[in-house]
C-alpha cells in the first residue's frame, strides 16, 4: 500500500529561490551598514574608503543560483543602507541596482566550480569590473547630458575623465581586490558544501544553476559591457576634442595615446593583478584539491 511519491526536483523551487534572495539581501544589507560606519581616509579625490564589501554578494552568486542572489544583494543595499538610513537616492538607486545586479549575475554565471580559486578570482574581478565600468559610463553620460555644450567648456571633459579614471582604479583595487577577490577566495571554498545543508538543499554543481545559453549570454555581456565602456570613452574624447596636450605636453609624447585610455589602462592594471594572484594561488592550491576533477 505505501506508495512513494516522487518529489525530487532538479531546479530550485520558488521557496528556495526566495531563501537565497532573502539571505543575499540581509547579508549585503548589513555589510553596507558596516561599511557606512567605517571611517574614510581621503587624499584629495583618492578615497581610501571601503565603499562596499563586494565579497559578500560575490560569494552568494558563486555558491547559489546566481539570479536570486544577484537581485537580492543590491536590494539589500538600497533597503538597509539607503532607505532605512535616510539616504535614499531615488532614481540613482535604480541605476545602481541594475548595474550591480547585472554585474553579479554575470559573475555568478562565470563560476563553474566554487572550489576553483582561479574561477572565483576571475569572476570577482569581472563582477566588480562590470559594475564599475557601467557606473563610469553612466557618470560620464550624466555630465555629458547635464552640461550644455560640454565640449565648449575647457578643461572639464578632461577633468571628468581623469577623476573617473582615478575612482575606477581606486574601486577596483579596494572593492574589487582587497574587499572582493581576496575575501571571496577565502570564503567561498569554506562555505561551499557547508552552508547548503543549513539551508536545506544540495550544494551547487556545474549543471545545477546555469544553462549553456546563459553562459554564452554571460560571456557576451562581459564583452559588450567592455566595448560599451571603451566605446563611450573614446566617443566622449572624440566629441569633446579632449586634448590633454595643454597639460604637460612632454608627458603625452612620452606615453603616447595610451594615456588617454584611462579606463582601459585601469582594466589592464587589474588584469595584471589578477594574473599575479592566480599564478600565486595555482601554486598554493595545486596540492590536493579533489573537487578540481569536476572541471
Amino acid at each position: 500500500m505505501p506508495n512513494p511519491i516522487p518529489h525530487q526536483k532538479k531546479e530550485l523551487n520558488q521557496s528556495q529561490q526566495l531563501m537565497i534572495f532573502v539571505l543575499s539581501m540581509s547579508l549585503f544589507g548589513i555589510a553596507n551598514i558596516i561599511t557606512e560606519i567605517v571611517p574614510e581616509f581621503s587624499f584629495g579625490p583618492v578615497e581610501f574608503s571601503v565603499s562596499y564589501f563586494a565579497f559578500i554578494p560575490l560569494a552568494m552568486v558563486f555558491l547559489f543560483s546566481p539570479l536570486p542572489a544577484a537581485l537580492g544583494a543590491p536590494l539589500g543595499e538600497i533597503i538597509f543602507a539607503d532607505l532605512l538610513m535616510g539616504d535614499f537616492g531615488g532614481i540613482g538607486e535604480l541605476e545602481g541596482f541594475i548595474e550591480f545586479a547585472l554585474a553579479l549575475y554575470v559573475a555568478g554565471l562565470l563560476v563553474k566550480n566554487p572550489n576553483s580559486r582561479k574561477q572565483i578570482a576571475i569572476a570577482s574581478l569581472v563582477g566588480v569590473g562590470i559594475d564599475q565600468m557601467l557606473s563610469t559610463v553612466v557618470d560620464i553620460g550624466k555630465v555629458w547630458v547635464g552640461i550644455e555644450e560640454l565640449e565648449a567648456v575647457p578643461g572639464v571633459p578632461e577633468s571628468i575623465l581623469v577623476l573617473e579614471g582615478i575612482s575606477f582604479v581606486n574601486e577596483m583595487v579596494i572593492s574589487g581586490v582587497l574587499f572582493g577577490l581576496i575575501p571571496a577566495m577565502w570564503l567561498v571554498p569554506r562555505l561551499h558544501g557547508k552552508i547548503e545543508p543549513l539551508m536545506g538543499f544540495a550544494p551547487r554543481e556545474d549543471v545545477s544553476f546555469r544553462s549553456a545559453k546563459e553562459i554564452v549570454g554571460a560571456r557576451f555581456l562581459v564583452f559588450s559591457v567592455f566595448f560599451i565602456f571603451v566605446g563611450m570613452i573614446s566617443e566622449f574624447m572624440a566629441e569633446m576634442d579632449v586634448n590633454f596636450a595643454v597639460w604637460q605636453p612632454e608627458f603625452i609624447e612620452q606615453f603616447g595615446q595610451q594615456f588617454l585610455w584611462v579606463g582601459v589602462s585601469a582594466a589592464i592594471i587589474v588584469l595584471i593583478l589578477a594574473v599575479m594572484g592566480i599564478s600565486y594561488l595555482k601554486k598554493s592550491s595545486s596540492s590536493g584539491n579533489p573537487s578540481r576533477k569536476a572541471q
Binding site: 520558488q14 539581501m25 579625490p45 564589501f53 535616510g86 567648456v153 562555505l191 539551508m199
Partner: protein, 281 residues
C-alpha cells in the same frame, strides 16, 4: 596617531546602533509623510527628470528655491543635509580643480554650477520624500506600480530584521575581540590597527553568513506557512492589501500647487533666462 586606537576602543557600538535605529524607526510625522506614497513617488519622479531637461539657470534656481523651502518644511536632520552639501561641493570642487590643470577657466566653474544645481534639486527631492516615508507605505506604493512582490516584501522584511542582524553581527564581532589579540605595534599610519580591524570585520562574516542562512531557512518556511507564496499569485490578496492606499484632497492640492509653481518657474525662466556665456575656443 593615537586617534585610531582611541576610536577603536572608544567606539561605542551601542550609541551608533541607537543612532541608526533612530534614523530607521524614528517617527515620521511631517507633511510629506502624510501624502499618498504613490503621489509622493510621482512627485519625486517629476523632480528627478525635469532638471535634466533644462539648462536655463533661472529655471533651475527656481526649482532649487522651491526644494529648499520644502526641505525646510520637512525638518530634515541637519546631518543628512550637511553630508549632502559636503558631497556636492567637494565633487564639484575636484572637477574644477582638475579642470584648471587642463586649461580650464571660470567657464568650467559656471558650467559645473549648473550641473551641481541639477544634482542638488534631485537629491533634495529624494531626501524630502524618502526620509519621511514609512518603508511599509513605500513598499506598498511600489507594489501598486507593479514592482514584483518579492522586492516589496524585501523592504518591509529589511525593516523588520535590521536590528536583529546588527545585534548578531555585533555579537560575532565581539566574539572575535574577546578571543583575538590587538596588534601591539601600530605601524606606519597605524596600518596594523586598520588591517586588524578590516580583517576582523571581514572574518566576522563567515559565522554571520552561516547563522543568517540558518535563520533565513526558518523565515522562508514560515512565509510558506503564512501563505506568502500563495498570496503572491493571488491578485485578490494584492488588491486587498493595497486597498488602503487612497488619494485624498491633500494629495491633489499638493500636486496642484507643485504644478502651479513649476509653470511659474518655467515661464519666468523663459522670460528672463540666465544663460552661461559660451566661450568659443
Amino acid at each position: 596617531m593615537n586617534r585610531i586606537r582611541q576610536w577603536l576602543s572608544k567606539i561605542n557600538v551601542e550609541t551608533i546602533k541607537i543612532e541608526l535605529m533612530n534614523t530607521a524607526y524614528g517617527e515620521r510625522t511631517t507633511l510629506m509623510a502624510k501624502l499618498d506614497p504613490r503621489v509622493a513617488i510621482i512627485w519625486y519622479l517629476l523632480f528627478a527628470i525635469l532638471p535634466w531637461l533644462f539648462w536655463n539657470n533661472t529655471i533651475l534656481i527656481g526649482m532649487l528655491v522651491y526644494m529648499v523651502i520644502l526641505t525646510a518644511l520637512s525638518r530634515i536632520s541637519p546631518l543628512i543635509l550637511f553630508l549632502l552639501c559636503f558631497g556636492l561641493v567637494t565633487e564639484a570642487g575636484y572637477v574644477i580643480f582638475t579642470a584648471l590643470f587642463f586649461g580650464g577657466d571660470l567657464t568650467a566653474a559656471a558650467a559645473l554650477l549648473t550641473f551641481t544645481m541639477k544634482l542638488t534639486i534631485i537629491s533634495l527631492a529624494s531626501i524630502v520624500i524618502f526620509t519621511n516615508m514609512d518603508p511599509e507605505r513605500f513598499s506598498d506604493a511600489l507594489l501598486r506600480f507593479k514592482v514584483p512582490e518579492t522586492f516589496c516584501f524585501g523592504i518591509s522584511y529589511g525593516y523588520r530584521m535590521l536590528p536583529i542582524l546588527i545585534d548578531e553581527y555585533q555579537n560575532i564581532f565581539n566574539s572575535f575581540r574577546l578571543r583575538g589579540r590587538f596588534p601591539e605595534k601600530k605601524g606606519v599610519l597605524a596600518w596594523r590597527y586598520v588591517y586588524h580591524f578590516c580583517v576582523t570585520a571581514v572574518k566576522a562574516f563567515y559565522p554571520m553568513i552561516l547563522n543568517t542562512a540558518k535563520r533565513t531557512r526558518t523565515t522562508v518556511e514560515a512565509l510558506e506557512v503564512k501563505g506568502f507564496t500563495y498570496g503572491m499569485h493571488n491578485p485578490e490578496a494584492k488588491e486587498l492589501k493595497l486597498s488602503y492606499l487612497k488619494t485624498t484632497k491633500k494629495d491633489v492640492l499638493f500636486l496642484g500647487i507643485t504644478g502651479v509653481v513649476l509653470i511659474a518657474i518655467i515661464y519666468t525662466g523663459t522670460l528672463y533666462p540666465i544663460e552661461r556665456t559660451i566661450h568659443q575656443l
